[in-house]
Symmetry: C2
């Protein structure tokens, strides 16, 4: 019998507990493993109420799990940096294996935790930390192990993808879509982490470490949010054959790493542009396998619990069979970050200008000065205010140049400040 202790009976903790109990005999049948939840730590009575869980299993003190000799695997599902970090360290020092869904913790302190795991010959399972129930960690770490991975795209945050889908399908504003997401429970009261790309960046840092063997820090990831996307940008994207997504992009070009989470336009023909609503997906290109896409529910109690349980079972096999090897992250030498501003892609730009002669010539002149050439331009219908939106696509442009050009254009007297520019990611097709 393999003993499991769960710390935290929130959304994911509850899903995990439910799967392990409901499917106890199914798991036994499929794997031969007897897995038993022997203790659950939760301090908030609201998280316990109404859940069918024996009172004798529950403790308010996580230390009782860390000290319980019946427990082989500690599942940390409280989130946040502290005290989650301390619990995991203590579990590892007691030679317990650890499963966590805590992407923020892994992104910020993962290296230290994996080091301690190695010292104690234990493993940390983190399938649930990225894309909920989609087994993408396993796919990259084991399934594509024979490949040099060069390129990844991720739709890693269900909240922002829901909002953008709502804006695209119903033509509503960002604020209305956000409110709708909050009403449905898809967005938190304070949605900053989701809509500003922080949550997706946490997840991307985990994928980059795994796929590129590079110890990326959060500060290395260029981040941008979706709150300034307007319906006109979504419509214009569609006209040009694109869809706007909050897109995680990571490239490894001969050891030079690029990683960003930003709104970007994807071709409508790209499989990632069809990932709608709260769904998540990762698109991974390996040098041998070509592109692979993994798609599913990126959050939720039982989908994420499903990922936690897959780690528990994997570990249980090895613990039962007294396996003496653990898989830990390995980092390659000689890789380094590309400066975010050196990135070069085509861009979508939108200016709001007074409707008078010479405007377009002035704008395109400034772009030309910054080595940016235009591939398409449309001027949208006149507005009563006397201002009109001008929408452009550029050829490949270096981000530094583009920012400078946009700032210069914003300083023109007949331009309303706050010009918009969005990356176009052709998606390796």
């Amino acid at each position: 019998m393999i003993g499991v202790g769960i710390i935290g009976l929130g959304t994911v903790g509850t899903g995990t507990y439910r799967i392990l109990t409901e499917h106890k005999s199914l798991i036994k049948e499929k794997t031969g493993l007897g897995i038993e939840v022997v203790r659950v730590a939760e301090i908030d009575p609201r998280n316990i109420k109404g859940k069918q869980i024996a009172g004798s299993l529950i403790t308010g003190n996580a230390l009782e799990i860390l000290n319980d000799t019946r427990i082989d695997i500690v599942v940390e599902l409280i989130g946040g940096i502290r005290p989650a970090y301390d619990y995991i360290v203590q579990a590892l020092r007691k030679k317990k294996w650890v499963v966590t869904a805590n992407k923020a913790l892994l992104a910020e302190r993962g290296d230290k935790l994996f080091e301690i795991a190695g010292q104690n010959q234990c493993e940390i399972g983190f399938e649930a930390s990225v894309c909920g129930g989609i087994p993408v960690i396993r796919a990259i770490r084991d399934g594509l192990i024979g490949n040099r991975i060069t390129y990844m795209l991720g739709i890693l945050n269900g909240t922002s993808n829901y909002i953008l889908t709502k804006m695209t399908d119903d033509g509503v504003s960002f604020q209305d879509a956000l409110r709708n997401a909050q009403q449905l429970g898809f967005a938190e009261k304070d949605p900053t982490f989701d809509i500003e790309g922080v949550d997706a960046a946490h997840k991307l840092s985990i994928l980059v470490r795994l796929a590129f063997s590079y110890p990326i820090r959060m500060a290395d990831i260029t981040k941008g949010g979706i709150s300034n996307i307007e319906p006109i940008d979504i419509d214009s994207a569609k006209e040009f054959g694109y869809r706007i997504k909050l897109l995680a992009v990571a490239k490894d070009e001969g050891g030079l790493i690029e990683a960003r989470v930003e709104p970007a336009m994807l071709p409508l023909t790209h499989p990632m542009s069809n990932v709608h609503g709260v769904y998540n997906a990762v698109y991974v290109v390996g040098d041998k396998v070509g592109p692979n896409l993994f798609y599913g529910r990126g959050a939720g109690s039982e989908p994420t619990g499903s990922a936690v349980v897959s780690d528990i079972i994997d570990m249980a096999h090895r613990i039962k069979n007294k396996n003496n090897f653990v898989k830990l992250p390995v980092y390659a030498r000689g890789k380094k970050m590309k400066k975010g501003e050196n990135s070069s892609v085509p861009y979508y730009m939108r200016f709001t200008a007074q409707d008078r002669p010479g405007v377009l010539s002035k704008i395109s002149g400034i772009l030309a000065q910054h080595k940016i050439s235009i591939s398409a331009v449309t001027q949208k219908g006149r507005k009563e205010t006397g201002y009109v939106p001008i929408v452009m696509l550029t050829h490949e442009a270096v981000e530094r140049d583009l920012k400078k050009a946009a700032a210069a254009i914003d300083r023109l007297s007949f331009i309303r400040r706050g010009s918009v520019y969005i990356r176009i990611e052709e998606g390796g097709l």
Copy 2:
């Protein structure tokens, strides 16, 4: 050092050899494993010529691989039932682990092979047998292990998917699309296995065993091919909001198993309907995780080699660490097949009728007698021959009834024989 012997230097054998040699140091870096191809067996000189492989590695005699004590893992890539079966049995009896991409062999003789593997405490890796480079075996066996899997859809054959995509995009006939696929090397001279659903059924049987823990036989799978699909069916599908795919479908409804490979219409909004060309995908629904989709190249030298290498590395970890457990298929008790003809879905039907009064009333009368109700009907423009196509969608109908009704309608004097009916698979949305 883990020694590998490859039997068969065809397409997949060459890809496997190339990955293991080109990425030898990358694999060492990522996994700590030293993996060495110590022997390759190939009898056909045309398969050796022009490949950068030391002559000393090559033998014409597979027994030299089976008897080589340096070899821990035997990779069988010759395909077909014999002698592949004998080689694998001999390898297992010598306590060598086996990797194979041979779906026909696993579908026909898998149970016996896994039994022998178990007797010898060895494992058979078969990630490469389904969907080439997509790690779908791993995803189902390990990633979704905490789920009861209830429903799967597969686009498992790149050749037929290429042909249908070509017919859909370019409006060409089946024959022209097939010829085009043959010219590009996507279809064999004798394409029967691909276009009649046999290859996809082999793969589906492997997925069903894994996902439903049920020892399905090839004869249990209802099979149909794409050769009688006409451009008008593809166009009509589009008008109704569907796309035609050669679709593998498997359901487990409380232990009653259904498995079929047939052309089917999928809603355009379903992610599987966007799997184009030679790409493959599997859509798996677990009771806890919800739907997952795995997408990538389903064939090809290096994509399939990538899957072979993932199995080799997985085994190498365990061999190196003297692991004493192997994962073998387990079958649940009490499950059984649903009779194919009892299956019930909505249908698309196409009749070719003389253009005269009373035809529709007669057809719908016969359908009603067989408890089939119509949800939509369109009559396509008149033809010079005096015959017109009548296209219908039905509500859910039992296959047995539908076949009887179609046969009765075919006997009508004003109907040209060979009425077409295609299943509509709503896809669990």
